[in-house]
Symmetry: C2
């Protein structure tokens, strides 16, 4: 039995500083606190300014009233209190508060339950005064409680304290009199007093839980708009003697248009030298022709490995200038981090221990029997964990030093989760601003695991969720149970995924998927060519024909028709509306039509309602039933809605008639209630 | 803010000795381990000899095979290994093993995941040999693995080791030859070798979780049959001058009949002096007549409190002799532990700090405004926790010393959960054989909480679950998610609950509920009078008319008709069939009739199927579809079923025709498959 990986010591910025010792119940029991990831082994995650729910089951013996609150502790030790409210149905004893951390770093939260003698009194007093029972006793208890309140609020809420003192002087100075009951009746109906006292509860038998870990990232970890491009294609030219590659300088010429569409992340596939051994030819063939550039994911050759730049693309200067131009346009550059090597990678000779040697002495290439991937050597993380872990950290810091702030990690699920846990923790310590997107398309537990150990964003199943029921189910999971550890990035396509839904090239279909991605998920992404409705597929597969992964593919982005206008509008709306920058507030509304999906998002007073047809060939009608509660709307008033795509405006109640057709498949409605 | 209760130091026998530090993922990730109660703050619970499932999500990077097992550690440090198997659907990565602790006390369990190079090889070899790929390499890997196996099994499984060594000598001595591929084909089809190797997996990258706490109680904590009786009624006589109370001596006369019915616990309502202040009269009136004995739950008067015996019932000698006679008949005596005081209780003067004093200086009686319960003073646990906690422990040990081995705790949900956590932990340390039944009828979270902190058994919602769907739903919860912390005791009635279902006195109805209780739950209970079909109710309420709580109620147990025969049969079957002594194996089967419920229980080869009509007035027909998998039956064979109530026998397949009528509302079938 060997356990090499377990010798690596893992720093714990994502874990609690003091592990949340599993405590028994306190005087007022609090159980099932959420969000707690794996018993507190990993921090729940949020971003600066993101509101999210903390909940728990809180209950007590007997009939006396209880209260509960969340205490949020910032990295510098400041505590904020959030009163929790009980969630329907009451029989389940669920309490909840939405909290909002306001700075980056390592926070904690706990739940505090307490006995609330004022609410106990209020409950009993209402019944007893109604029934003329024990009035003098009730009056005496009121005096005692109000005196405590007056004292407690003296330092924090002077006006309440003063008001209470006046009441005490006026109504309790002469003992219980004939007017005392009248006073009590007025007191328990006085909304102003009741609200003041509710803000300053008398907390007896205070029972705190352990402090659970919460890591807060910068806002872009949740809210970002990605554009993927191959720099070698941008400016590539076919000449008589073959192709001339595009490079950072020519690719930089495209940045302005990308920024104009409103994207804020430009993601580049690997920019390193590409192996020549077993190089793939066009359409993933094993027989490349001279001049075929190869797949950028076959990293490394004699010119260098993961810390080198493909000579065709330029050098560190031209890369720096590409990054600088992007930055000037308000965009970050995301680099691919593909931990694998071509057989020509320098590591193969310098560090053979980072690969698996087969019993015949050769290095093991990637396999999924009977398939062989001889152009790729997978890394073995167990033979020299210390060495390969440190090398990976060095590579990441190498590119951070070159201005890279985001990494899109290729196939993280084929490397040990423990390695990523270590790397994510190290990076939180060293460069908390650097973000990682996990490109894992695999079973749920691994995808969740990558999020739990610290990946900031994850690719998702979105491209395969095209029916209304499955979109609703998936988004409900993402915005609910998964939200504390898994931030979705809805890519509408990737070089690896040419979705079946889009393969007949219907332009309304492209619009629909872009609208869904951009308004359902706070992060979304697009691989270049989508705006031109590219859709030619390898027959029967979700792959692009003549895939850019294996060949140059310059495009005429000025071609019409294109989706540039819609994309620009979507990204502008995303910038303008905080509601679209959140995930956890999404709620679905009934449309009485399986092909029309309706969902809302809110952020304070910013309320958006999306109504989208999922059918790109036929007109769809429906009757919307709007859930006013989910939107925090006043039931007694109508609402004003304005479509941000068409400019149309309507006055609606809870019901509305819908009519969507392929040329206008969606409403993005701003809701106001005058 | 005051937190008196939190100063009590709580011993931790139910909690882990080393708290299960929430660990990050290991080399092979294991998450969502179950059963873990509140992150390991409380021990999962089982009884000696009880099989229960341990499960986890186990997954890894890439395509290599993994394995997982449970390691169960006994109180004396012995470890047992249980291989885990993957549960359908595979995409969820759930692994499970059923484990069985075999002694009382404080156990732990952990899950260990590992890389399984043999299964990786086997998977690849099957594909590669089929496709004539890499045969020499596959052969070389086999040699290496078999050598490791031979070495590893040398000390533990000599015959396997010898067999492997012979194979190695025969097939690998001369290198790869023309027959090597044939040998490999035979090897991967050799069931004997495969099973030997599966029993001794090559565990690489072994990744253990923390050790989670498990507390194992004596078997009776799960499996028991309770009979409740008021000793004052048994032998009570009405004379010209009023009633003469029954007592322990006269009550002991009933023990033989109770034992003959097969009960093993005799539960007595409080046997202490009864308060006279605000004593309740017949039918819970506030106007008692002279001679009314009062409610035994109004504990204490000038003759003593919780450590005294009501003079009418006898003395410590006659109590001892009652206990001894019960024991001789194979029964334990359960005493009521009702933590409350009548206004005459000695504590009221000796320890006023154990009660709440109102601002008018009087002691607070129980209230649920506008209702007042002036005959009861509730205990205040927060003013002198150290004092009242120790006094309660003293009382329990006082009665343990008198031969009491079980306590039925009255209304535990009206006392602090923290107090019970302390008491249960202390008792596990001092008297691990003493059992506690929680009489809490309240919301789920409190009922669950009482189980989590250590109550051995709990009253349930059973009396209010009369429809098929709700019985199935409730039992599925009880036998599944709740089973690690909540052991149900299905009482068919209690002095407080005269179920609506039985109030018209239909005898088939009484039979049906007894059959359900006795066969669904390993613990069940009955309050005397049930066997005589007593059903007179306070109109519109689930209360008995002329309740024995407030008056003497001698009965003629020889009256006919009665349910004694059926009850005796049920308890005999429960004793004879281990399947009926388990909860976690219950599975429901389709009957195509909402009024016929079918469920099975298994314990090894002991398989029982219950088919019960829920309708006590009409004949019910149905078609049973038997789930062979749930019963571990061979699909290719018929089964033999024998009704333990009627003696009828049938040969069945997966389908059977059912016909139940009020006079024979149920089959209790023993299944055998010859």
């Amino acid at each position: 039995m060997s356990t090499p990986g377990s010798n690596v010591s893992i720093p714990l910025p994502l874990a609690p500083s003091v592990p949340p010792f599993p405590r028994g119940v306190g005087r007022i029991p609090v159980v099932k606190v959420e969000p707690v990831i794996e018993g507190g082994a990993y921090a729940a995650q949020a971003v600066v300014g993101e509101a999210f729910p903390v909940s728990a089951r809180v209950f007590r013996e007997g009939h006396d009233a209880l209260g509960a609150r969340v205490v949020l502790t910032s990295p510098d030790g400041q505590e904020s209190l959030y009163p929790m409210t009980q969630i329907w149905p009451a029989g389940l004893d669920i309490y909840e508060a939405w909290v909002t951390p306001d700075s980056q770093g390592r926070w904690t939260f706990r739940v505090e339950a307490f006995s609330d003698p004022w609410r106990t009194w209020l409950h009993d007093a209402r019944i007893k005064l109604d029934g003329n029972i024990d009035e003098e006793l009730v009056w005496g208890q009121a005096q005692q409680l109000l005196e405590t309140f007056a004292q407690q609020t003296w330092s924090t809420d002077r006006s309440t304290s003063t008001k209470l003192k006046t009441l005490l002087k006026t109504h309790f100075a002469d003992g219980f009199t004939s007017t005392s009951t009248t006073f009590l009746q007025e007191l328990i109906a006085d909304q102003d007093i009741l609200e003041r006292l509710e803000r300053n509860p008398l907390c007896e038998l205070l029972s705190p839980t352990a402090d659970f870990p919460l890591w807060v990232d910068r806002r872009q970890a949740l809210f970002s708009s990605w554009y993927e491009m191959f720099p070698r294609s941008q400016g590539a030219k076919k000449t008589k003697t073959g192709w001339t590659s595009g490079n950072f300088t020519s690719a930089a010429g495209r940045l302005k248009s990308i920024a104009a569409m409103g994207f804020d992340v430009v993601y580049l596939p690997p920019i390193h030298p590409i192996g020549s051994a077993f190089r793939k030819g066009k359409n993933n063939t094993l027989t490349p022709e001279p001049g075929d550039p190869g797949s950028p994911w076959a990293v490394g050759n004699k010119d260098g490995g993961h810390d080198a730049i493909h000579p065709d693309l330029g050098d560190f200067d031209s890369f720096a200038s590409f990054v600088a131009q992007a930055k000037k346009l308000g965009m970050e550059v995301a680099l691919d981090f593909a931990l694998q090597a071509s057989p020509d990678h320098p590591w193969v000779t310098s560090h053979p221990q980072w690969f698996t040697t087969r019993i015949d002495g050769t290095i093991a290439y990637a396999e999924n029997p009977p398939k062989k991937y001889q152009d790729i050597y997978p890394i073995n993380f167990d033979q020299d964990p210390e060495g390969i872990y440190q090398e990976c950290l060095r590579l990441i810091e190498f590119w951070v030093d070159k201005g890279v702030t985001i990494f899109r990690v290729d196939n993280p699920h084929t490397k040990p989760l423990q390695f990523w846990a270590w790397l994510m923790a190290e990076m939180r310590l060293r460069h908390p601003d650097v973000l990682f997107l996990a490109e894992a398309f695999t079973r749920p537990e691994m995808m969740h695991g990558l999020g739990k150990i610290g990946f900031h964003q994850s690719y998702t199943y979105f491209t395969w969720r095209t029916e209304k029921w499955e979109l609703e189910e998936y988004l409900t999971q993402l915005a609910g149970e998964m939200a504390p550890f898994y931030r979705p990035n809805f890519f509408v396509n990737t070089p690896d995924i040419n979705p079946y839904y889009l393969q007949d090239g219907n332009q309304a279909g492209f619009a629909i998927r872009a609208i869904l991605a951009a308004t359902m998920s706070p992060s979304w992404g697009m691989y270049s060519g989508y705006e031109l409705f590219e859709h030619a597929a390898v027959e029967g597969r979700e792959e692009y024909l003549n895939s850019e992964k294996y060949e140059y593919r310059p495009r005429d982005y000025s071609a019409t028709p294109n989706l540039t206008g819609l994309i620009t509008s979507l990204n502008r709306l995303r910038q303008e509306h905080p509601a679209l920058q959140s995930l956890r507030t999404i709620r679905f509304h009934d449309t009485a039509n399986d092909q029309i999906i309706a969902y809302s998002k809110t952020a304070g007073e910013d309320r958006l309602l999306m109504v989208v047809s999922l059918n790109f060939t036929e007109t769809q009608e429906g009757h919307l039933h709007l859930n006013y509660d989910a939107l925090g709307l006043d039931h007694t008033k109508e609402i004003h809605v304005r479509d941000q795509l068409s400019g149309q405006e309507w006055i609606w109640g809870t019901e509305a008639y819908l009519n969507l057709y392929p040329a206008h498949p969606a409403h993005i409605l701003v809701i106001t209630q005058p």
